[in-house]
Each structure stands twice: as structure tokens, then as C-alpha cells.
Subunit: 110 residues, 2 copies
Amino acid sequence: MNRSDPLSLTFLALADSTRRTILEQLATGDASVVEITSAFTLTQPAVTKHLIVLERAGLISRTRDGQRRPARFRIEGLVPVDEWLHRARTEWSDRLDFHLAQSIEASPGN
Amino acid sequence: MNRSDPLSLTFLALADSTRRTILEQLATGDASVVEITSAFTLTQPAVTKHLIVLERAGLISRTRDGQRRPARFRIEGLVPVDEWLHRARTEWSDRLDFHLAQSIEASPGN
DNA sequence: AGTTTATATAACTAGAAAGTAATATACAAG
DNA sequence: CTTGTATATTACTTTCTAGTTATATAAACT
């Protein structure tokens, strides 16, 4: 298997503190590439690349404002991650509980 | 910034469908390297490497059973991700709502 | 039209990640 | 103590990622 499926792309986009910080900044409002760049010790092309990663992950959209192309946080992009986590916490922990119970039943003294 | 902080390590570990499948398998109970390997078309060293990535991310622990070193799913390892997501969904969406409200207030007709 | 400003693209480098085959280690069992 | 089995490690290759500088494109402004 590889890491080019949508969920992997989203997890991958989040696996970088620079990109998470960009999302945090975007939560305060849309921001242009120049504005985002000024928050880091990074060059403009580096920021543009991060935005491409975030966009492919569905975590931002790009708009148009004159010659600027501001980025906008897409909170819906987090839904698949949220759903995966929810499954892990519910279904899986059920199963974990089940197997734990089995072990206890099978243990000496039962 | 880089991607060696704990949260990035966890997101990175999850950004691979093979590793997510391993976690899913472990949710049905502990499994040895050989058992995990048999579920994939991968060599044993490749699986060992994936387990190391999952362990560094805090998502599994390794136990000892004779010559086997079964892996065990650590559901607690998901807590930091869960917290990050929760912050994003609550605080951030509050701020997003706030800025949206500001835009509406500032718009012509108000 | 020419200049400035914002963003994107190209070409490149350095380092990390995922995989392999081959080998070493460690424990179990005759 | 030798053999078999489970896992780890080493050495290597390939691909991907993040960053750079330099340049191209595109819109805005005189």
C-alpha cells in the first residue's frame, strides 16, 4: 500500500508543524501568500508549496482577490480524520474491551 | 520548523494506509511480527520498520512472549491527535464564526 | 507601455522514508 | 550444543519531501 489515498494525504499535511501553524493562522482569517510568509523564516516558494500540500489534502481552498490568491481554511477537510479517529475510539476500543474480557475469562481462576 | 515533534510523529505514522491497517489488525488483539507480515505483501524487515514508526509515535507498545515480541495497540497514543482536532473544531471554528460575523457587520447595509 | 507587486514554476540539493536482500542475534526445543 | 524460528540490524536503492535560488507569469498602478 502507499500513502497517496485521501486520508493519508490529510494526515501527511498535518504531520508538519509549519503547516499546522499556517492552519492556525488561517483560523483567524484568510491570508495571502505574502502574509503567511511573513510569519515564518521561509521563502515565498516554500510557503506556496506548503499551501499546495494543504490544498491537495482538502484543508484549505484558494480564492482570488486581485493579484492575491488568499488561502482559506476548510474545516470540512478535517472531517475524514475526525471520522477515522471516532471509529478508532469507538469500534476499536469496543473490540479491545471484548478481547480484554476474553483474556480475563480464559485466565486461570475462571 | 520540522516534523520531529511528538504530534508530527503521530500524524506521520497515521499518514500511511499500511500502518493504519496494522493498527486496525491490532485492535482485534496483539499480534507478532510474523502474524502482521502475513497480512501484507511485505517482507518482515519492512513490517518491523513500520512497527518502529508506530512505537515512536506512541501508537503501539511492544511486549515479550518467548521469542515473539507482539505489538499492542495503545489507544492513548491517539489522545494528542484527538485534542488537536478538538481545538481545531471548537476554538478555531469559534474564531472563524467571529470573523465571519465581523465581515457581515462590516458589509454594506450594516 | 513600463514598473511594481503577488504568486507560480523550474531546476536543483539535502535529507528522510519505504522498500529490498542478506546477515546477525536471541530464544526455544530436540 | 545444534537446529529451527522470530525478530532486529545492516547496507543499499529508489522515491519523496522540504528547502533553496532564479525566473516566469499575471495583475495593478502610473
